[in-house]
Structures are given as structure tokens and as C-alpha cells.
Symmetry: C2
Subunit: 199 residues, 2 copies
């Protein structure tokens, strides 16, 4: 096979080609942020040169877009599937479960999408993507949401990636992460607005 068999001894296998670039970029973007990651770092982590990266992507922004694309498609799927429920509460629950699964399974990609300052602006400047988030929020709040409900949705979406990324939760396996995130989503978004219990 390939004649580029460098057999790197680093922790992560260096993969050639477009998918290797995207894998390296996703990992670096999640760890350092988009602005904190240079194309040189991406090239080094991919085992190729900077110029080779530019053969696959015309600009750094296109690398970012390619990293985010699968997550944006997943949100489209969640909005479509959850939106098919008649009961608004069932729709909210379906969206919570879909988001929790994506956040755990593709945590690095989703950390870039939801926790990077540069990506926030990128999304805000692309009406298609911004509208997608608006529809997602509406599914999570239910129709005609109160300010308090919008606030809980905002906190849930902002906190969604925390458990999967936090070193203090590194010992928790993926299924338990999904279940815990879903539980948090139910508590924040599906509890009646009155009684706040104990103490």
C-alpha cells in the first residue's frame, strides 16, 4: 500500500488525505479552539504539509465548515424527526435524546460547533444555520415559550457538551453520559414550571 508509511509512534495514527485532515482538525479545534489552531498544526497532525491541506480545502474557513457539516446535518435530522411528533412534549423529549446522543458520540465536533467563539459568529452569519438553531430551540421549548423556558433551553444547549468534555467526568462511560444528559434535559425542559421541591 502507500509509500508514506511513516509509522508514527505518536498516540494517534496519522491518516492521509481529506478524512485525516478533518480528523486532525476536529481534534485540534476542540482542544484549542479554531482561532488557536493553525493550518501548520493541522498539517503536522495529518502527516502532510500545509500546501497539501490547501489542495483539499481552499481556505481555513472551508476546513471549519467541513468539520461542522455532519453536526449540522445531524441537527437537521433531529429537527425533522422530533418535529414529526404531535405532542410538543414528546417532540422535546425526542430532541433531548437526539442531542445527548450526538453530543456524546461526536463530542469533539459538537464542542467546536457549540463552544467556539469563532464558530458562533460563523453560524450567526449563515442564515441557513442560524434558522436551524432557531427551529431546534423551538422544539426544545415547545410552542409559545415563556422567558423562563427559553432560559432553561439556553442553559441546556450551552451545557450539553460539558459532561462529555469535562475531565472530571472522564470515568463515565458513553451510555451513562447519554442517560445523565437526557435526565438533565428532562429536569430542565419537561418539569412543570411550578413546584421546585424540597429543602
Amino acid at each position: 500500500m502507500g509509500d508514506d508509511a511513516v509509522m508514527s509512534s505518536t498516540a494517534e495514527r496519522i491518516r492521509p488525505g481529506r478524512s485525516g485532515i478533518l480528523a486532525a482538525a476536529t481534534r485540534l479545534f476542540a482542544a484549542q479552539g479554531v482561532s488557536g489552531t493553525s493550518l501548520q498544526q493541522i498539517a503536522d497532525a495529518s502527516g502532510i504539509t500545509k500546501a497539501a491541506v490547501y489542495h483539499h480545502f481552499p481556505t481555513k474557513e472551508e476546513v471549519v465548515a467541513a468539520v461542522l457539516a455532519p453536526a449540522l446535518e445531524a441537527i437537521q435530522g433531529i429537527v425533522r424527526t422530533a418535529g414529526a411528533h404531535q405532542d410538543p412534549r414528546a417532540a422535546t423529549e425526542a430532541a433531548i435524546i437526539g442531542l445527548a446522543d450526538q453530543a456524546v458520540t461526536h463530542r469533539q465536533r459538537w464542542a467546536v460547533l457549540l463552544q467556539d467563539a469563532a464558530v458562533e459568529e460563523y453560524v450567526r452569519n449563515h442564515p441557513d444555520h442560524d434558522d436551524l438553531f432557531t427551529r431546534l430551540r423551538l422544539l426544545l421549548t415547545g410552542p409559545d415559550p415563556s422567558p423562563g423556558t427559553r432560559l432553561q433551553v439556553s442553559l441546556f444547549l450551552s451545557g450539553l457538551l460539558g459532561p462529555a468534555q469535562d475531565p472530571s467526568c472522564a470515568d463515565i462511560d458513553d451510555d451513562a453520559l447519554r442517560a445523565g444528559i437526557v435526565q438533565a434535559g428532562r429536569r430542565l425542559l419537561l418539569l412543570d414550571d411550578d413546584a421546585d421541591d424540597d429543602a
Copy 2:
């Protein structure tokens, strides 16, 4: 008083000196991330030159540290005050209330502290700061926490800044933000681990 009365017509008053630098840096760091903000941008927003910024701070990292310092002191205060409660649940509640107030009142500073990839590494590399967060987490979980409880704390801390920063919550006033965040904290951290209600 001052002889530097430039009377800028920009949206935000340009303030001279150290406090103006920190105000501009905090705002820019929160909006663009630390890595996405240059000293030239901070200088321009402060109405001085880059060299003048370097008169007040020896390095960019020191600007970051000065921006974060009040928030880290606030966490110390929260840990001290909340830790004085004998009842672990009262301690958790006090920490939630203190965090919600800080997150709303100083939302830009806290967004830098809690949501910036570069700052995460900065905190991880300073054992004093890292220990502080460990103590804060322990107050929020209570003693001998289960994995599920640690997960809820992680999601709450990660989501804390969401409502105060999210444009979709821009219409909510500060007191309502504080109350909503406290409500979310109670639901995530003070609910018994069993019954998850309705539907």
C-alpha cells in the same frame, strides 16, 4: 480632571489607562475568544497604541490573568461562604446562588473564564486555580458524589453562562436571569436522584 478627553463617538466609551484596557480586553475576549483577539484590537478599543498596552502589562497572558482575577476571587468567596454551611444541601444552594449572580453580573468576564479554550489550559496549568475549581465542584455535588451527580454539576457549570450570553435570552432582565439560573441549578443538583416525573 483628565486631559485626554477624546470624547469618542463610538458606541462604547474609550477609557484610558489600565482599567480601560481591561474593560476592552474583557469585552473582546468574551466575543472573539482570547486566541481570536490581538493586542492591536485591544489597543484600538482602548484608544491607545499597542506599546502603551505593554507599558501596563508585560505579556498578553498577564492581560488575560488580570481579566480573570476578579472572577477567581469571587469563586474563592463563594467557596468560603458556601463552605461555611453545615448542611451540604444548604452549601450547594448557596454556591448555586453565588454562581448565578456572578454569571449574570459579570457575564463577559465569566464567559472568558468558563468558555474559552485557551483559558481552560491556563487554569489547568495553575494548580491554585485548578484546586479552586475542584473545591467548587465538591460544594456543588456534596460529599462523596455519584457519577451522575458529577455529571449534573459538569452540565450546570458548563451551561451557567448560556442564558446570560445567548441572544435568544437578550430580552430577559438580570433578576429574571439570576432566578432562572438558580432554578436550573436546583433542578439539576438538588433534586433527589429517583423520580423523574411525568409524561
